[in-house]
Protein backbone atom coordinates (compact mmCIF):
# COMPACT_ATOMS: atom_id res chain seq x y z
CA UNK A 1 0.00 0.00 0.00
CA UNK A 2 2.98 2.27 0.57
CA UNK A 3 3.55 2.20 -3.23
CA UNK A 4 -0.03 3.38 -3.82
CA UNK A 5 0.38 6.35 -1.49
CA UNK A 6 3.67 7.26 -3.17
CA UNK A 7 1.99 7.15 -6.59
CA UNK A 8 -0.75 9.50 -5.40
CA UNK A 9 1.79 11.89 -3.95
CA UNK A 10 3.86 11.90 -7.17
CA UNK A 11 0.71 12.38 -9.28
CA UNK A 12 -0.25 15.42 -7.21
CA UNK A 13 3.29 16.78 -7.46
CA UNK A 14 3.31 16.43 -11.27
CA UNK A 15 -0.03 18.17 -11.47
CA UNK A 16 1.23 21.04 -9.31
CA UNK A 17 4.34 21.53 -11.43
CA UNK A 18 2.33 21.35 -14.65
CA UNK A 19 0.04 24.09 -13.36
CA UNK A 20 3.08 26.16 -12.51
CA UNK A 21 4.54 25.59 -15.99
CA UNK A 22 1.29 26.62 -17.64
CA UNK A 23 1.30 29.81 -15.63
CA UNK A 24 4.91 30.55 -16.61
CA UNK A 25 4.14 29.93 -20.29
CA UNK A 26 1.19 32.29 -20.19
CA UNK A 27 3.34 34.98 -18.57
CA UNK A 28 6.10 34.48 -21.15
CA UNK A 29 3.55 34.72 -23.96
CA UNK A 30 2.29 38.00 -22.51
CA UNK A 31 5.79 39.40 -22.19
CA UNK A 32 6.70 38.43 -25.77
CA UNK A 33 3.43 39.76 -27.13
CA UNK A 34 3.98 43.04 -25.29
CA UNK A 35 7.43 43.38 -26.86
CA UNK A 36 6.27 42.75 -30.39
CA UNK A 37 3.62 45.43 -30.18
CA UNK A 38 5.57 47.95 -28.15
CA UNK A 39 6.60 50.30 -30.93
CA UNK A 40 3.26 50.76 -32.65
CA UNK A 41 0.24 52.61 -31.36
CA UNK A 42 -2.05 49.85 -32.53
CA UNK A 43 0.24 47.35 -30.82
CA UNK A 44 -2.51 46.09 -28.60
CA UNK A 45 -4.53 45.04 -31.61
CA UNK A 46 -3.57 41.56 -32.68
CA UNK A 47 -0.87 40.81 -30.16
CA UNK A 48 -3.26 39.59 -27.53
CA UNK A 49 -3.82 35.89 -27.81
CA UNK A 50 -7.39 35.91 -29.10
CA UNK A 51 -7.10 38.17 -31.88
CA UNK A 52 -8.47 38.72 -35.31
CA UNK A 53 -8.64 42.53 -35.22
CA UNK A 54 -11.33 44.28 -37.17
CA UNK A 55 -9.29 47.02 -38.72
CA UNK A 56 -5.60 47.86 -39.06
CA UNK A 57 -4.55 51.44 -39.76
CA UNK A 58 -2.99 51.99 -43.20
CA UNK A 59 0.80 51.90 -43.32
CA UNK A 60 2.18 55.43 -43.44
CA UNK A 61 3.18 56.57 -46.93
CA UNK A 62 6.82 57.64 -47.01
CA UNK A 63 8.19 59.97 -49.65
CA UNK A 64 11.80 59.08 -48.92
CA UNK A 65 13.99 56.72 -46.94
CA UNK A 66 15.44 57.79 -43.60
CA UNK A 67 19.21 57.75 -43.12
CA UNK A 68 18.80 54.73 -40.85
CA UNK A 69 16.81 52.88 -43.52
CA UNK A 70 19.38 53.74 -46.19
CA UNK A 71 22.16 52.29 -44.06
CA UNK A 72 20.16 49.24 -43.09
CA UNK A 73 19.03 48.30 -46.61
CA UNK A 74 22.08 49.66 -48.48
CA UNK A 75 23.18 46.29 -49.92
CA UNK A 76 19.86 45.79 -51.65
CA UNK A 77 19.24 49.48 -52.38
CA UNK A 78 22.17 49.56 -54.79
CA UNK A 79 20.49 46.88 -56.92
CA UNK A 80 19.00 48.69 -59.90
CA UNK A 81 16.17 46.11 -59.92
CA UNK A 82 15.08 47.28 -56.46
CA UNK A 83 16.46 50.76 -55.78
CA UNK A 84 14.89 53.39 -53.54
CA UNK A 85 11.57 53.07 -55.34
CA UNK A 86 11.40 49.32 -54.68
CA UNK A 87 12.43 49.73 -51.05
CA UNK A 88 9.72 52.34 -50.46
CA UNK A 89 7.21 49.96 -52.00
CA UNK A 90 8.30 47.21 -49.61
CA UNK A 91 7.78 49.57 -46.67
CA UNK A 92 4.23 50.28 -47.85
CA UNK A 93 3.44 46.59 -48.37
CA UNK A 94 1.67 44.31 -45.92
CA UNK A 95 1.94 40.54 -46.17
CA UNK A 96 -0.30 37.97 -44.51
CA UNK A 97 1.61 34.79 -43.63
CA UNK A 98 -0.76 31.84 -43.17
CA UNK A 99 1.12 29.30 -41.07
CA UNK A 100 4.23 30.00 -38.95
CA UNK A 101 5.81 26.58 -39.49
CA UNK A 102 8.51 25.18 -41.74
CA UNK A 103 7.66 27.48 -44.66
CA UNK A 104 6.37 30.48 -42.73
CA UNK A 105 9.43 30.84 -40.50
CA UNK A 106 12.07 31.40 -43.21
CA UNK A 107 9.60 33.36 -45.32
CA UNK A 108 8.76 35.78 -42.50
CA UNK A 109 12.42 36.04 -41.54
CA UNK A 110 13.53 37.25 -44.97
CA UNK A 111 10.52 39.52 -45.41
CA UNK A 112 11.22 41.14 -42.05
CA UNK A 113 14.90 41.48 -42.83
CA UNK A 114 14.14 43.06 -46.20
CA UNK A 115 11.95 45.76 -44.64
CA UNK A 116 8.37 44.76 -45.49
CA UNK A 117 6.00 47.24 -43.86
CA UNK A 118 3.69 44.86 -42.01
CA UNK A 119 3.63 41.10 -41.40
CA UNK A 120 0.42 39.39 -40.29
CA UNK A 121 1.32 36.03 -38.73
CA UNK A 122 -1.44 33.43 -38.51
CA UNK A 123 -1.12 30.14 -36.64
CA UNK A 124 -3.50 28.27 -34.35
CA UNK A 125 -0.83 25.99 -32.96
CA UNK A 126 1.76 26.08 -30.18
CA UNK A 127 5.47 25.30 -30.49
CA UNK A 128 6.35 21.65 -29.95
CA UNK A 129 9.72 19.93 -29.68
CA UNK A 130 9.21 18.10 -32.98
CA UNK A 131 8.79 21.48 -34.76
CA UNK A 132 12.24 22.78 -33.94
CA UNK A 133 14.15 20.99 -36.71
CA UNK A 134 12.44 23.10 -39.37
CA UNK A 135 10.52 25.95 -37.75
CA UNK A 136 13.60 28.01 -37.16
CA UNK A 137 12.06 31.14 -35.59
CA UNK A 138 11.06 29.13 -32.52
CA UNK A 139 13.57 27.92 -29.95
CA UNK A 140 13.61 25.46 -27.08
CA UNK A 141 12.40 28.08 -24.62
CA UNK A 142 9.31 28.74 -26.75
CA UNK A 143 7.81 25.27 -26.40
CA UNK A 144 4.17 25.52 -25.45
CA UNK A 145 3.82 29.12 -26.69
CA UNK A 146 1.60 30.16 -29.60
CA UNK A 147 3.67 30.01 -32.80
CA UNK A 148 2.39 33.38 -34.01
CA UNK A 149 3.56 35.09 -30.80
CA UNK A 150 6.89 33.25 -30.82
CA UNK A 151 7.55 34.15 -34.46
CA UNK A 152 6.73 37.83 -33.89
CA UNK A 153 9.04 37.96 -30.86
CA UNK A 154 12.00 36.53 -32.79
CA UNK A 155 11.34 38.74 -35.83
CA UNK A 156 11.22 41.84 -33.68
CA UNK A 157 14.78 41.17 -32.55
CA UNK A 158 15.77 40.99 -36.22
CA UNK A 159 13.97 44.14 -37.41
CA UNK A 160 12.03 46.25 -34.95
CA UNK A 161 10.87 48.70 -37.62
CA UNK A 162 8.44 46.20 -39.14
CA UNK A 163 4.91 46.08 -37.77
CA UNK A 164 4.05 42.53 -36.66
CA UNK A 165 0.49 41.35 -36.09
CA UNK A 166 0.27 37.84 -34.61
CA UNK A 167 -3.07 36.06 -34.95
CA UNK A 168 -3.30 33.09 -32.58
CA UNK A 169 -6.08 31.14 -34.19
CA UNK A 170 -6.94 29.13 -37.27
CA UNK A 171 -7.94 31.04 -40.37
CA UNK A 172 -11.66 30.36 -40.66
CA UNK A 173 -14.32 31.02 -43.30
CA UNK A 174 -15.84 33.65 -41.00
CA UNK A 175 -12.63 35.67 -40.55
CA UNK A 176 -10.49 34.95 -43.61
CA UNK A 177 -11.96 37.40 -46.10
CA UNK A 178 -11.92 40.36 -43.72
CA UNK A 179 -8.35 39.55 -42.80
CA UNK A 180 -7.06 39.02 -46.35
CA UNK A 181 -8.64 42.32 -47.46
CA UNK A 182 -6.34 44.16 -45.04
CA UNK A 183 -3.18 42.85 -46.67
CA UNK A 184 -1.54 43.37 -50.06
CA UNK A 185 0.00 39.94 -50.62
CA UNK A 186 -0.80 36.57 -49.04
CA UNK A 187 1.68 33.73 -48.49
CA UNK A 188 0.15 30.29 -48.02
CA UNK A 189 2.52 28.43 -45.70
CA UNK A 190 -0.18 26.14 -44.33
CA UNK A 191 -0.07 22.40 -43.98
CA UNK A 192 -3.51 21.14 -44.96
CA UNK A 193 -5.95 20.99 -47.87
CA UNK A 194 -8.98 22.83 -46.39
CA UNK A 195 -6.81 25.85 -45.52
CA UNK A 196 -5.35 25.90 -49.05
CA UNK A 197 -8.83 26.16 -50.59
CA UNK A 198 -9.92 28.70 -47.98
CA UNK A 199 -6.89 30.94 -48.56
CA UNK A 200 -7.30 30.65 -52.33
CA UNK A 201 -10.97 31.60 -52.32
CA UNK A 202 -10.38 34.48 -49.92
CA UNK A 203 -7.58 35.79 -52.18
CA UNK A 204 -9.74 35.54 -55.30
CA UNK A 205 -12.70 37.27 -53.60
CA UNK A 206 -10.43 39.99 -52.17
CA UNK A 207 -8.34 40.30 -55.35
CA UNK A 208 -4.96 39.58 -53.72
CA UNK A 209 -2.00 37.68 -55.16
CA UNK A 210 -1.27 34.37 -53.41
CA UNK A 211 2.24 32.96 -53.14
CA UNK A 212 1.73 29.32 -52.27
CA UNK A 213 4.41 26.93 -51.08
CA UNK A 214 4.38 23.35 -49.86
CA UNK A 215 6.91 20.73 -48.85
CA UNK A 216 7.00 17.10 -47.81
CA UNK A 217 9.74 14.51 -47.38
CA UNK A 218 12.45 15.70 -49.81
CA UNK A 219 10.29 17.68 -52.23
CA UNK A 220 8.81 21.12 -52.53
CA UNK A 221 6.34 22.92 -54.81
CA UNK A 222 5.58 26.60 -55.36
CA UNK A 223 3.00 28.48 -57.46
CA UNK A 224 1.84 32.09 -57.53
CA UNK A 225 -1.95 32.15 -57.90
CA UNK A 226 -4.49 34.81 -58.76
CA UNK A 227 -1.84 37.16 -60.07
CA UNK A 228 -2.03 39.30 -63.22
CA UNK A 229 -4.85 37.29 -64.78
CA UNK A 230 -3.26 33.91 -64.08
CA UNK A 231 -4.94 30.80 -62.67
CA UNK A 232 -6.03 30.25 -59.10
CA UNK A 233 -5.60 27.11 -56.98
CA UNK A 234 -9.06 25.89 -57.99
CA UNK A 235 -8.29 26.34 -61.69
CA UNK A 236 -5.59 23.72 -61.17
CA UNK A 237 -7.38 21.60 -58.58
CA UNK A 238 -11.14 21.96 -59.03
CA UNK A 239 -11.73 18.95 -56.79
CA UNK A 240 -9.95 18.26 -53.49
CA UNK A 241 -7.91 15.06 -53.26
CA UNK A 242 -9.50 12.10 -51.44
CA UNK A 243 -8.53 12.57 -47.75
CA UNK A 244 -6.84 9.16 -47.57
CA UNK A 245 -4.35 10.23 -50.27
CA UNK A 246 -3.12 13.28 -48.34
CA UNK A 247 0.06 12.90 -46.28
CA UNK A 248 1.17 15.45 -43.68
CA UNK A 249 4.66 16.11 -42.31
CA UNK A 250 3.97 14.09 -39.15
CA UNK A 251 3.14 10.97 -41.15
CA UNK A 252 5.35 11.40 -44.20
CA UNK A 253 8.28 13.17 -42.60
CA UNK A 254 10.15 16.18 -43.94
CA UNK A 255 13.78 17.17 -43.98
CA UNK A 256 13.77 20.58 -42.26
CA UNK A 257 15.84 22.43 -44.83
CA UNK A 258 13.44 21.51 -47.66
CA UNK A 259 10.57 23.74 -46.45
CA UNK A 260 13.36 26.17 -45.54
CA UNK A 261 14.38 26.38 -49.20
CA UNK A 262 10.79 26.62 -50.42
CA UNK A 263 9.93 29.29 -47.83
CA UNK A 264 12.92 31.33 -48.98
CA UNK A 265 11.78 31.14 -52.61
CA UNK A 266 8.29 32.16 -51.48
CA UNK A 267 9.84 35.17 -49.73
CA UNK A 268 11.70 36.00 -52.94
CA UNK A 269 8.48 35.97 -54.97
CA UNK A 270 6.66 38.08 -52.37
CA UNK A 271 9.49 40.62 -52.49
CA UNK A 272 9.42 40.70 -56.31
CA UNK A 273 5.65 41.24 -56.30
CA UNK A 274 5.77 43.83 -53.51
CA UNK A 275 8.61 45.83 -55.06
CA UNK A 276 7.10 45.83 -58.53
CA UNK A 277 9.50 43.42 -60.25
CA UNK A 278 6.72 40.89 -60.76
CA UNK A 279 6.72 37.15 -60.13
CA UNK A 280 8.29 34.40 -62.23
CA UNK A 281 5.71 31.82 -61.21
CA UNK A 282 2.46 33.17 -62.55
CA UNK A 283 1.06 30.18 -64.47
CA UNK A 284 4.19 28.23 -63.60
CA UNK A 285 4.92 25.70 -60.90
CA UNK A 286 8.36 25.33 -59.40
CA UNK A 287 9.13 21.78 -58.34
CA UNK A 288 12.14 21.04 -56.18
CA UNK A 289 13.55 17.56 -55.76
CA UNK A 290 16.11 17.75 -52.95
CA UNK A 291 17.28 14.18 -53.46
CA UNK A 292 18.25 14.81 -57.07
CA UNK A 293 19.19 18.45 -56.49
CA UNK A 294 16.88 19.51 -59.31
CA UNK A 295 14.50 22.38 -59.86
CA UNK A 296 11.89 22.05 -62.58
CA UNK A 297 9.63 24.75 -64.03
CA UNK A 298 6.24 23.50 -65.13
CA UNK A 299 4.07 25.51 -67.50
CA UNK A 300 0.54 25.48 -66.11
CA UNK A 301 -2.89 25.96 -67.67
CA UNK A 302 -4.20 29.53 -67.86
CA UNK A 303 -7.07 30.81 -65.71
CA UNK A 304 -10.11 28.64 -66.45
CA UNK A 305 -13.32 30.24 -67.68
CA UNK A 306 -15.30 27.57 -65.82
CA UNK A 307 -13.42 27.88 -62.51
CA UNK A 308 -15.83 27.75 -59.55
CA UNK A 309 -14.34 30.83 -57.91
CA UNK A 310 -12.37 32.90 -60.47
CA UNK A 311 -14.25 31.86 -63.63
CA UNK A 312 -16.82 33.76 -65.68
CA UNK A 313 -19.82 32.48 -63.72
CA UNK A 314 -18.45 31.65 -60.30
CA UNK A 315 -20.53 29.43 -58.02
CA UNK A 316 -18.35 30.31 -55.03
CA UNK A 317 -19.12 33.93 -54.24
CA UNK A 318 -18.56 33.72 -50.50
CA UNK A 319 -16.41 31.54 -48.29
CA UNK A 320 -17.68 28.04 -47.54
CA UNK A 321 -17.21 25.17 -45.13
CA UNK A 322 -13.86 23.92 -46.42
CA UNK A 323 -13.48 21.07 -43.98
CA UNK A 324 -16.73 19.59 -45.29
CA UNK A 325 -15.66 20.29 -48.91
CA UNK A 326 -12.34 18.48 -48.41
CA UNK A 327 -13.56 15.82 -45.95
CA UNK A 328 -10.69 16.60 -43.59
CA UNK A 329 -9.84 18.91 -40.73
CA UNK A 330 -7.74 22.08 -40.93
CA UNK A 331 -6.40 21.82 -37.39
CA UNK A 332 -6.06 18.11 -36.57
CA UNK A 333 -2.49 16.96 -36.46
CA UNK A 334 -3.40 13.46 -37.49
CA UNK A 335 -6.37 11.78 -39.01
CA UNK A 336 -8.07 9.18 -36.87
CA UNK A 337 -9.46 6.24 -38.78
CA UNK A 338 -12.47 4.31 -37.53
CA UNK A 339 -12.30 1.14 -39.58
CA UNK A 340 -12.90 -1.37 -36.82
CA UNK A 341 -15.64 -1.71 -34.25
CA UNK A 342 -14.65 -1.61 -30.60
CA UNK A 343 -14.82 -5.40 -30.21
CA UNK A 344 -11.88 -5.65 -32.64
CA UNK A 345 -9.74 -3.22 -30.66
CA UNK A 346 -8.08 -3.13 -27.25
CA UNK A 347 -6.62 -0.26 -25.24
CA UNK A 348 -2.96 0.02 -24.24
CA UNK A 349 -4.03 -0.58 -20.63
CA UNK A 350 -5.73 -3.82 -21.60
CA UNK A 351 -2.69 -4.89 -23.58
CA UNK A 352 -0.43 -4.14 -20.63
CA UNK A 353 -2.60 -6.40 -18.47
CA UNK A 354 -2.32 -9.23 -21.03
CA UNK A 355 1.46 -8.83 -21.00
CA UNK A 356 1.62 -8.89 -17.20
CA UNK A 357 -0.51 -12.03 -17.15
CA UNK A 358 1.75 -13.59 -19.78
CA UNK A 359 -1.16 -14.48 -22.04
CA UNK A 360 0.27 -16.21 -25.15
CA UNK A 361 -0.16 -14.03 -28.24
CA UNK A 362 1.72 -12.47 -31.16
CA UNK A 363 2.29 -8.71 -31.19
CA UNK A 364 2.53 -7.56 -34.79
CA UNK A 365 4.14 -4.16 -35.45
CA UNK A 366 3.13 -2.93 -38.93
CA UNK A 367 5.13 0.30 -39.08
CA UNK A 368 7.66 0.92 -41.87
CA UNK A 369 11.22 -0.23 -41.15
CA UNK A 370 12.49 3.36 -40.73
CA UNK A 371 10.11 3.89 -37.79
CA UNK A 372 10.93 0.52 -36.24
CA UNK A 373 14.57 1.64 -36.28
CA UNK A 374 13.57 4.62 -34.12
CA UNK A 375 11.92 2.56 -31.37
CA UNK A 376 10.18 -0.77 -30.90
CA UNK A 377 8.79 -3.16 -28.35
CA UNK A 378 11.35 -5.95 -28.04
CA UNK A 379 8.88 -8.84 -28.30
CA UNK A 380 7.06 -7.52 -31.40
CA UNK A 381 7.05 -9.30 -34.76
CA UNK A 382 7.63 -6.74 -37.49
CA UNK A 383 5.86 -6.80 -40.86
CA UNK A 384 5.29 -3.44 -42.61
CA UNK A 385 1.69 -2.76 -43.62
CA UNK A 386 2.77 -2.46 -47.25
CA UNK A 387 3.97 -6.08 -47.23
CA UNK A 388 0.63 -7.23 -45.78
CA UNK A 389 -1.24 -5.17 -48.38
CA UNK A 390 0.64 -6.75 -51.24
CA UNK A 391 0.19 -10.18 -49.58
CA UNK A 392 3.92 -10.80 -49.70
CA UNK A 393 4.43 -14.60 -49.52
CA UNK A 394 7.69 -14.28 -47.68
CA UNK A 395 6.25 -12.11 -44.91
CA UNK A 396 3.00 -14.04 -44.56
CA UNK A 397 5.02 -17.25 -44.22
CA UNK A 398 7.02 -15.58 -41.45
CA UNK A 399 3.84 -14.50 -39.68
CA UNK A 400 2.47 -18.04 -39.93
CA UNK A 401 5.67 -19.44 -38.45
CA UNK A 402 5.58 -17.04 -35.52
CA UNK A 403 1.91 -17.78 -34.82
CA UNK A 404 2.64 -21.54 -34.86
CA UNK A 405 5.59 -21.14 -32.50
CA UNK A 406 3.59 -19.14 -29.98
CA UNK A 407 0.65 -21.48 -30.30
CA UNK A 408 2.81 -24.36 -29.07
CA UNK A 409 2.83 -22.65 -25.71
CA UNK A 410 -0.93 -22.94 -25.41
CA UNK A 411 -3.02 -26.05 -25.13
CA UNK A 412 -4.71 -25.52 -28.48
CA UNK A 413 -7.11 -22.76 -27.57
CA UNK A 414 -9.84 -22.07 -30.09
CA UNK A 415 -8.60 -18.85 -31.64
CA UNK A 416 -5.12 -17.52 -31.18
CA UNK A 417 -4.80 -13.80 -30.42
CA UNK A 418 -2.73 -11.51 -32.68
CA UNK A 419 -2.46 -7.91 -31.49
CA UNK A 420 -1.52 -5.36 -34.12
CA UNK A 421 0.23 -2.12 -33.30
CA UNK A 422 1.49 0.89 -35.29
CA UNK A 423 2.39 4.47 -34.38
CA UNK A 424 -1.06 5.97 -33.78
CA UNK A 425 -3.59 3.23 -34.38
CA UNK A 426 -4.61 3.88 -38.00
CA UNK A 427 -2.46 1.45 -39.99
CA UNK A 428 -3.00 -1.22 -37.34
CA UNK A 429 -6.73 -1.18 -38.14
CA UNK A 430 -6.02 -1.69 -41.85
CA UNK A 431 -3.71 -4.57 -40.96
CA UNK A 432 -6.36 -6.21 -38.75
CA UNK A 433 -8.74 -6.14 -41.72
CA UNK A 434 -6.15 -7.95 -43.85
CA UNK A 435 -5.38 -10.55 -41.19
CA UNK A 436 -9.08 -11.23 -40.66
CA UNK A 437 -9.27 -12.26 -44.30
CA UNK A 438 -6.38 -14.73 -44.18
CA UNK A 439 -7.46 -18.33 -44.86
CA UNK A 440 -8.24 -20.21 -41.62
CA UNK A 441 -6.90 -23.41 -43.17
CA UNK A 442 -3.35 -22.15 -43.34
CA UNK A 443 -3.16 -20.01 -40.21
CA UNK A 444 -5.58 -21.72 -37.91
CA UNK A 445 -8.27 -19.67 -36.22
CA UNK A 446 -6.75 -16.29 -35.41
CA UNK A 447 -8.34 -13.48 -33.43
CA UNK A 448 -6.80 -10.22 -34.62
CA UNK A 449 -7.28 -6.97 -32.72
CA UNK A 450 -5.54 -3.63 -32.97
CA UNK A 451 -4.15 -1.59 -30.11
CA UNK A 452 -5.93 1.76 -29.94
CA UNK A 453 -3.67 4.80 -30.14
CA UNK A 454 -0.66 2.66 -31.03
CA UNK A 455 2.81 3.02 -29.61
CA UNK A 456 2.33 6.73 -28.93
CA UNK A 457 -0.51 5.85 -26.55
CA UNK A 458 1.79 3.22 -25.04
CA UNK A 459 4.43 5.90 -24.49
CA UNK A 460 2.06 8.45 -22.96
CA UNK A 461 -0.04 6.09 -20.83
CA UNK A 462 2.06 3.03 -19.98
CA UNK A 463 5.78 3.56 -20.43
CA UNK A 464 7.00 7.19 -20.21
CA UNK A 465 10.52 6.08 -21.19
CA UNK A 466 9.30 4.85 -24.59
CA UNK A 467 10.28 7.47 -27.23
CA UNK A 468 7.61 9.67 -28.84
CA UNK A 469 8.15 10.81 -32.41
Amino acid sequence: MAGGAEAVRLGAEIERRERELRGLRERLAEVLAGESGADSEEGSAGVSAAAFPAELPPLPAQASLSAAAILRYSRQLVLPELGVRGQLRLARCSVLVVGCGGLGCPLAQYLAAAGIGRLGLVDHDVVETSNLHRQVLHGEARRGLPKAVSAAATLRLLNSTVHYVPYCGALSPSTALELVRQYDVVADCSDNVPTRYLVNDACVLAGKPLVSGSALRLEGQLVVYNYQGGPCYRCLFPKPPPPETVTNCADGGVLGVVPGIMGCIQALEVLKIASGMGSSFNQFMLMFDAREGKFRNIKLRPKKADCAVCGDNPSVTRLQDYEAFCGSSATDKCRTLHLLSSKDRISVEEYKKLLDEQVPHVLLDVRPQVEVDICRLAHAVHIPLSKLEEKSEEYLEYLKKRICEEKQRTNGQTSFPVYVVCKLGNDSQKAVRIIQELPVKAYGPVLAKDIKGGLMAWASKIDPTFPQY
Partner: protein, 102 residues
Protein backbone atom coordinates in the same frame (compact mmCIF):
# COMPACT_ATOMS: atom_id res chain seq x y z
CA UNK B 1 -1.10 1.28 -89.64
CA UNK B 2 -0.02 -0.72 -86.65
CA UNK B 3 2.44 0.96 -84.34
CA UNK B 4 5.28 -1.33 -83.28
CA UNK B 5 6.16 -1.96 -79.63
CA UNK B 6 7.72 1.17 -78.22
CA UNK B 7 9.92 1.92 -75.27
CA UNK B 8 8.49 4.70 -73.14
CA UNK B 9 9.65 6.30 -69.96
CA UNK B 10 7.62 8.13 -67.40
CA UNK B 11 8.14 9.43 -63.88
CA UNK B 12 6.26 9.78 -60.61
CA UNK B 13 6.89 12.51 -58.03
CA UNK B 14 5.43 14.19 -54.96
CA UNK B 15 4.75 10.86 -53.28
CA UNK B 16 2.98 9.27 -56.28
CA UNK B 17 6.10 7.11 -56.67
CA UNK B 18 5.25 5.42 -53.36
CA UNK B 19 2.38 3.65 -55.15
CA UNK B 20 4.97 2.17 -57.52
CA UNK B 21 7.44 0.66 -55.06
CA UNK B 22 9.11 4.02 -54.56
CA UNK B 23 10.49 3.94 -58.11
CA UNK B 24 10.48 7.43 -59.60
CA UNK B 25 11.56 6.62 -63.16
CA UNK B 26 9.99 3.81 -65.13
CA UNK B 27 11.05 2.55 -68.52
CA UNK B 28 8.57 0.22 -70.14
CA UNK B 29 7.89 -1.38 -73.48
CA UNK B 30 4.33 -0.73 -74.56
CA UNK B 31 2.87 -3.43 -76.81
CA UNK B 32 1.96 -2.64 -80.41
CA UNK B 33 -1.64 -1.67 -81.06
CA UNK B 34 -3.58 -0.41 -84.09
CA UNK B 35 -4.02 3.10 -82.68
CA UNK B 36 -1.17 5.31 -81.52
CA UNK B 37 -0.85 5.39 -77.73
CA UNK B 38 -2.64 8.24 -76.00
CA UNK B 39 -2.66 9.16 -72.31
CA UNK B 40 -6.00 7.38 -71.81
CA UNK B 41 -4.49 4.09 -73.01
CA UNK B 42 -1.29 4.70 -71.12
CA UNK B 43 -3.21 5.16 -67.85
CA UNK B 44 -5.17 1.97 -68.52
CA UNK B 45 -1.89 0.16 -69.16
CA UNK B 46 -0.29 1.54 -65.98
CA UNK B 47 -3.34 0.50 -63.96
CA UNK B 48 -3.19 -3.11 -65.19
CA UNK B 49 0.55 -3.58 -65.31
CA UNK B 50 2.17 -1.44 -62.66
CA UNK B 51 -0.47 -0.52 -60.11
CA UNK B 52 -1.23 -3.70 -58.27
CA UNK B 53 -2.67 -2.50 -54.96
CA UNK B 54 -5.14 0.26 -54.18
CA UNK B 55 -5.61 1.80 -57.65
CA UNK B 56 -7.98 4.38 -56.10
CA UNK B 57 -4.95 6.18 -54.66
CA UNK B 58 -3.84 6.96 -58.22
CA UNK B 59 -6.84 6.71 -60.53
CA UNK B 60 -10.46 7.78 -60.55
CA UNK B 61 -12.49 6.43 -63.45
CA UNK B 62 -10.33 6.50 -66.55
CA UNK B 63 -8.34 9.53 -65.39
CA UNK B 64 -5.97 10.31 -62.54
CA UNK B 65 -7.53 11.11 -59.16
CA UNK B 66 -7.94 14.74 -58.00
CA UNK B 67 -4.66 16.08 -56.65
CA UNK B 68 -2.44 14.47 -59.29
CA UNK B 69 -1.14 16.63 -62.12
CA UNK B 70 -0.05 15.10 -65.38
CA UNK B 71 2.80 16.85 -67.15
CA UNK B 72 3.85 16.22 -70.70
CA UNK B 73 7.31 17.57 -71.48
CA UNK B 74 7.11 19.83 -68.42
CA UNK B 75 3.74 21.29 -69.40
CA UNK B 76 0.34 20.82 -67.74
CA UNK B 77 -1.55 18.16 -69.73
CA UNK B 78 -4.54 20.49 -69.84
CA UNK B 79 -2.56 22.47 -72.43
CA UNK B 80 -2.00 19.30 -74.50
CA UNK B 81 -5.44 17.69 -74.73
CA UNK B 82 -5.41 15.68 -71.49
CA UNK B 83 -6.51 12.06 -71.99
CA UNK B 84 -6.57 12.42 -75.79
CA UNK B 85 -2.97 13.53 -76.15
CA UNK B 86 -1.15 11.20 -78.55
CA UNK B 87 2.26 10.17 -77.29
CA UNK B 88 5.20 11.14 -79.48
CA UNK B 89 8.66 9.61 -79.47
CA UNK B 90 10.85 11.02 -76.70
CA UNK B 91 7.87 12.42 -74.81
CA UNK B 92 8.51 12.84 -71.14
CA UNK B 93 5.39 12.08 -69.06
CA UNK B 94 5.40 12.96 -65.38
CA UNK B 95 2.73 12.31 -62.74
CA UNK B 96 3.03 14.48 -59.66
CA UNK B 97 1.04 14.32 -56.50
CA UNK B 98 0.56 17.78 -55.05
CA UNK B 99 2.10 18.41 -51.66
CA UNK B 100 0.22 20.08 -48.82
CA UNK B 101 2.74 20.04 -46.00
CA UNK B 102 4.42 23.11 -44.60
Amino acid sequence: VTSSPSVRSFCFRGGAELLFDGVKKHQVTLPSQPEPWDIRNLLKWIKTNLLKERPELFMQGESVRPGILVLINDADWELMGELDYKLQDQDNVLFISTLHGG
